[in-house]
């Protein structure tokens, strides 16, 4: 069964005195167990909104989020039921996602189902490459990369089916990004967890994601296996994204800058995803244009 299934999700922000912002505008995606789906898009396109909606931190305005076919209640102010703890999140900022006043071990242990979690905590810490002694320390005693590892350990502690990672490495130093991202995808794959990896860095996702979904103004405009997206992007926006990436190499060109446009308003018809090749979906508008 598909571990994470998102159907027609809409997320809106209603701020008094301003027009309603439709941050996520009818998104449908799915992630299989052990699979890593990368979600890219420019700043403000709605990636985080979608991610938070999936774990229940944002209420859905319509649509459904199913974990193993079971729909998840939004996270109210009450305690979350055990059955819903199967979806976890890793946040972007490793400094605000850990409680600064509690020992790392305790924070992980809280997530371990049942009693006697000390051994499990040790196991988890080792799995993310930290010594067991880390459990007795406070978050400020760790570097950013180490903290993100702790966050990953905590996310894994409740034996989740799905992990949503919202830009888990963008706050880290270039030298550690790859390691942490690799660690996250490796452990997720190894444990059969579906991983939705949000990023604005397409090149970073390339190494770890099985498939990539491209988001633009609240809609998914293209979804395909990673290699396919890089080799044959079908949507113009995806192409822009790829060509704007600066490259290494003696004869790397100056990245090309797309013309800036205002918000694109798509009709449902234009936005409908069409399978243009096996496993490669693209918004209908792209097919019309080309």
């Amino acid at each position: 069964m598909t571990a994470l299934k998102v159907e027609d999700v809409v997320v809106e922000y209603k701020v008094t005195g301003r027009p309603t912002v439709r941050a996520v505008d009818g998104v449908s995606i799915h992630v299989e167990a052990g699979e890593v789906l990368g979600l890219v898009g420019e700043s403000g396109c709605g990636k985080s909104s979608l991610g938070r909606a999936i774990v229940g931190l944002n209420p859905l305005d319509s649509g459904k989020v199913l974990i193993d076919g079971r729909s998840i209640a939004p996270l109210g102010r009450r305690a979350r039921p055990v059955a819903d703890r199967t979806v976890q999140m890793v946040f972007q900022d490793p400094y605000s996602s850990l409680n600064p006043r509690r020992r790392v071990g305790r924070q992980i242990q809280d997530a371990v189902p049942g009693r006697g979690g000390a051994a499990r905590v040790r196991e988890l810490l080792e799995a993310v490459g930290l010594p067991a002694s880390a459990a007795n320390r406070f978050p400020h005693q760790f570097s950013g990369g180490q903290r993100q590892r702790i966050a990953i350990a905590r996310a894994l502690a409740s034996d989740p089916r799905v992990i949503v990672a919202d830009e888990p490495v963008s706050a880290l130093d270039a030298s550690t990004r790859l390691q942490v991202a690799g660690l996250l995808s490796d452990t997720a794959t190894a444990q059969g967890v579906a991983l939705l990896m949000i990023s604005h860095d397409l090149s970073g996702l390339r190494v770890i994601a099985d498939r990539i979904a491209v988001m633009h103004f609240g809609r998914i405009v293209e979804v395909a296996p990673t290699d396919v997206i890089w080799a044959e992007p079908r949507h113009p926006y995806t192409r822009e994204l790829i060509s704007a990436i600066p490259r290494l190499g003696r004869d790397a060109p100056m990245p090309s800058a797309p013309e800036r446009r205002g918000a694109v308003i798509r009709t449902d018809e234009e936005a409908r995803l069409v399978e243009c090749a096996p496993g490669h979906f693209v918004a209908a508008e792209a097919l019309v244009a080309s």
Binding site: L57, L75, R77, Q88, M89, S96, S97, N99, D110, S143
Partner: protein, 304 residues
């Protein structure tokens, strides 16, 4: 050491804290202003000492009216005597036993009430919050001193009633700050993370939020200790607080104010108030400097 650990150790944890805020490091004051804080602690320690050992330190019975009236300061009476012939020094010494414990009690009471209401209202939001905040607004808009005067007038002047009156006017401030601190935290990622793994509201408030707002709350309470002493003294000055012959500093200033050329009657208790309030403010202010700027703003907002 594993390979990854080695790699991690090359990362400077400080350097990557918050890239946007590299400039403040150039100018932000050193957190703990030592000289003032130390002076503050010394003064408070002095007064606590005086408070505890008042019977040993006071040269006379603070209530005994057996000296001549209005004796100026002299070797027998360092601070002179008051209008009914009591030793001012002894009264100032015993005054510490009134002002300090009462201020502490007052702050604790207001804090417990205010922080509880503020925390619940901030965490749960919605209707509860709206109602609680309207009530708080009301108390803010309501002239505090009039409220205090009315409460005192209604229940008759006494220290207990003055404390009640001040609690009535001061809890809303704690509620407001606690609320804003809680709101600042309740949507933060670590709270979200702990709730995703099943923390109940009680657990969230008690374990995740409380320890993180404790710092600012302690700072506020220290600063408010000073304010509490001032308010209490002010009410006593107006005859709405301490009941004679209690040696309360504000009431003593009030007695002395009638005859200002017998300056010692009002001067010394006034200095006592000033010194202890100043000390609490020195400590509180230094503590606040040690706080994160965001929370310290919430703290500042309370002092209004």
């Amino acid at each position: 050491m594993t390979v990854t650990e080695q790699a991690l150790d090359t990362v400077d944890p400080v350097g990557s804290v918050d890239k946007r805020r590299w400039i403040p490091r150039w100018r932000l004051p050193a957190a703990w202003r030592r000289p003032l804080a130390i002076v503050g602690v010394l003064i408070v320690a002095f007064w606590v000492f005086v408070m505890i050992f008042a019977p040993l330190l006071a040269p006379y019975d603070p209530l005994a009216q057996d000296s001549a009236r209005f004796l100026p300061p002299s070797p027998e009476h360092w601070f002179g005597t008051d209008g009914v012939g009591r030793d001012v020094l002894s009264r100032v010494i015993y005054g510490a036993r009134i002002s300090i414990p009462i201020a502490v009690m007052l702050v604790l009471l207001s804090l417990v009430i205010g922080a509880t209401i503020g925390a619940l209202s901030g965490y749960f939001g919605g209707g509860v919050d709206a109602v609680a905040m309207r009530v708080v607004d009301l108390f803010f808009a309501f002239p505090a001193i009039i409220l205090a005067m009315a409460v005192s007038a209604a229940l008759g002047p006494s220290l207990v009633n003055a404390v009640l009156a001040i609690v009535v006017v001061s809890w809303p401030a704690y509620a407001r700050v606690t609320r804003s601190l809680v709101i600042g935290l309740r949507d933060s990622n670590f709270i979200a993370a702990s709730r995703l793994i099943g923390a109940s509201p009680a657990r969230t408030l008690g374990r995740d939020i409380a320890p993180n707002i404790l710092g600012p709350i302690v700072v506020i309470s220290t600063l408010e200790l000073g304010n509490a002493i001032l308010l209490l003294a002010g009410l006593s000055y107006l005859g709405l607080g301490a009941v004679p012959p209690t040696p309360e500093w504000g009431a003593m200033v009030s007695e002395g104010s009638r005859v200002f050329y017998n300056y010692w009657v009002a001067l010394f208790p006034g200095l006592a108030i000033l010194s202890i309030v100043l000390a609490f403010n020195f400590i509180g202010d230094s503590l606040r400097d040690a706080l994160d700027p965001r929370t310290s703003r919430a703290v500042q907002s309370m002092e209004l």
